[in-house]
Subunit: 140 residues, 2 copies
Amino acid sequence: MTAAKPFRELCAEHGIAVTHQRQILYEVMQGMHGHPSPEEIYAEVKRQVPSISLATVYKNIHLFVESGVLREVSLHHGSQRVEMNRDEHHHLVCSKCKSISDIDEKVLGVLPKRRKLAGGFLVERYAVDVIGLCANCQQG
Amino acid sequence: MTAAKPFRELCAEHGIAVTHQRQILYEVMQGMHGHPSPEEIYAEVKRQVPSISLATVYKNIHLFVESGVLREVSLHHGSQRVEMNRDEHHHLVCSKCKSISDIDEKVLGVLPKRRKLAGGFLVERYAVDVIGLCANCQQG
DNA sequence: ATTTCTGCAAAACCTTTGCAAGCCG
DNA sequence: CGGCTTGCAAAGGTTTTGCAGAAAT
């Protein structure tokens, strides 16, 4: 697995200040597993820094995500969106402007047709997000 | 592209009542493109049924999604989630309980390493959701 | 006649923002 | 110091809920 860098080093690389809250936030997250929500992270950090506010957790998660220290589970976690394209397709998601466009399933090539995965997961379908920069955002 | 079934037929298949609002909602959505939000759909429907409420739109979108008439763009559109697994991986998403677990990138097989797609989209990475039923939900 | 659905308004989330005080470099 | 950061409280956006009246089967 990718080695964890010292926090001060990360901050230096990304030009952000080393505050006590950030330090603890980072350490606590290192020790978490799965896909925690900001609230869950907040609860965990609060045990070490009882005075921390949820707003600070949000602000710093943003900062970490923007600077690439952290990754979000999904680029489309905002409001609900409904699929109008009834053909089988996948999505191109722009990491900058978050726009979503469709790409025909066949263009991406075929994923394994397995029905059952180790762990007993029963596969219904694949949903692929091709993440990158849309033509517009490349110009910026 | 998949043929559009008559609305009454769909309702019969799924055992839901045919109301005026539902009928118009369905028709309006047929004519929309892309990935509209409930608000956008509401605005469109309101032109034909000015008295309709946003709550009704939400309730019926849910109903349509549950019964398979409609598909959501993303199964994880709720609150933000942060990725703690620093290895390259994809996600198993349960369509019933919405739980997310990780699956190593290598298990799924390799996606094309193309950098640029038609339309000028610059590929950074792929994020695959394997959608299906987790071991727990299969028992239900 | 019953069950289901609608519209309204209020509530429940989740996230962002403005600001004064405090910390970092 | 000067600028960035924090904590608080308030605001903002999205989605859900309870309920009484209306519509569907």
